[in-house]
Subunit: 259 residues, 2 copies
């Protein structure tokens, strides 16, 4: 009976995997990957295949949900499933792990860097001051969820920061920080919320995990058109700032000192 | 003018560093490390030195706060500072980075796996359902902070999970999950809180980042004496559980199905 190892790829390129993760991928009889929960923007599957020395079979969300191909391979031998960031952040990963356990397959996680801690670190914000995180999805005329603004309001009431992750599609579309802030401002205007306005302090991040992340802090309205390079982007709406957090936003993200 | 690179070491042993982090350490003119914010329990400094091929100078909290030794080295050349987990989680790291910037030194972060995302992943809990995290310190007759219980109560009111990190000393003492739960139960009894009782569902974790983390889920009182191996340990107090989160706790952490 084989083994299924969930391997985190980290944030940006092929060198954000850990030594343990690379060992697990190289030792596996077959290597799969999924890029629908996130994406490594600084590399390609071909580069990962060269580094690992094996072909990588990229799976869609449907493949992972259906699961038979990867579970069959894990019954026959050892399988590594490469996942951007830190594995198990999506329910589909957990569901797959539980099905593997039900099938008597050994499972193991090799952790990787996650945007959840990296985004705070890049800006010098303290992780214990973050409330729950939220995600802004692609919206339409009929699909306009208010939950991201609800989470920001709930956190700000308590002086807590909010990490706002941005949706992507399997087709390769990535929501930008600017579009997400525009949407949050629309929601806030519709409900006349003062928890998030054009003048609210916000932070935008791009290229996190690269040698030169692009970050900016300032009034929400001033960040809508900020160039962060190609996505992935994310947004942080700070709560109350410790003086050192404020100094960090000034020196690391160009926050106007008087803000 | 040199560079100061903050390199995350990840969770457990010398193989939890990323390829990018290892490159940065090997390329640096001098390599420092700190182990007062956390610790790599699965390896030694000597093993890290062999892997990197350089001597590592371990710094105390006082050294990092004082900062002159590492900043002087970064003025002369390139410096890597190795930090367990994902860097910048401590204010002392951020303060050092800001001082380096003031001194005209280039700074960069190489991210590593963090307990903040790993603890949730190991148990199959959804990261977006976590409220703010808290830390249980070593307490004494006069030092008995109530803030950890406050955070748990605030999160549970909203159905959110709480990650409870555990303090360590530079002398090498590590608070255990059992002691932390005992302390939380004492606090809850003193304030007659029903947010955390002997029967409250809790999860305890040890050896996270190793091939075989030790985890358990059950009533708080049943976990006090659970053997998790040598620390680092941490604790999660779940809020409302999605059915798949509950199934995960049953299959991954031995939660009694009826709980």
């Amino acid at each position: 009976m084989g083994e299924l190892v969930f391997v985190g790829l980290g944030l940006f390129d092929e060198k954000d995997i850990t030594l343990k993760g690379l060992d697990a991928a190289r030792a596996a009889d077959s290597v799969f990957a999924e890029f629908y929960t996130s994406s490594l923007r600084g590399t390609t599957v071909a580069t990962l295949e060269l580094m690992i020395g094996k072909a990588i079979r990229s799976l869609t969300r449907k493949d992972i949900e259906q699961g038979s191909e990867i579970l069959d391979a894990a019954r026959r031998g050892s399988v590594a499933l490469l996942i951007p960031g830190d594995p198990m952040s999506a329910t589909t990963h957990v569901a797959l792990r539980l099905r593997a356990i039900d099938a008597g397959i050994e499972t193991r996680i090799v952790h990787g860097p996650s945007i959840v801690s990296a985004a705070a670190g890049v800006l010098g914000l303290q992780s214990y001051k973050f409330g729950r995180a939220t995600t802004v999805p692609f919206t339409g005329d009929t699909f306009r969820p208010a939950s991201p603004l609800d989470v920001i309001e709930e956190n700000r009431k308590r002086g807590l920061h909010t990490l706002v992750l941005l949706d992507l599609t399997e087709g390769g579309e990535f929501l930008t920080a600017g579009k997400a802030i525009e949407y949050l401002l629309e929601l806030a205007a519709e409900r006349k919320s003062d928890a998030f306005t054009a003048d609210t302090l916000a932070c935008v991040l791009g290229q996190v995990g690269s040698d030169r992340p692009r970050v900016a802090a300032g009034r929400a309205k001033d960040l809508v058109s900020r160039d962060l390079g190609r996505p992935l982007h994310c947004v942080i709406i700070p709560g109350e700032l410790h003086f050192m957090e404020k100094e960090a936003l000034v020196k690391l993200a160009g926050l106007p000192p008087g803000h």
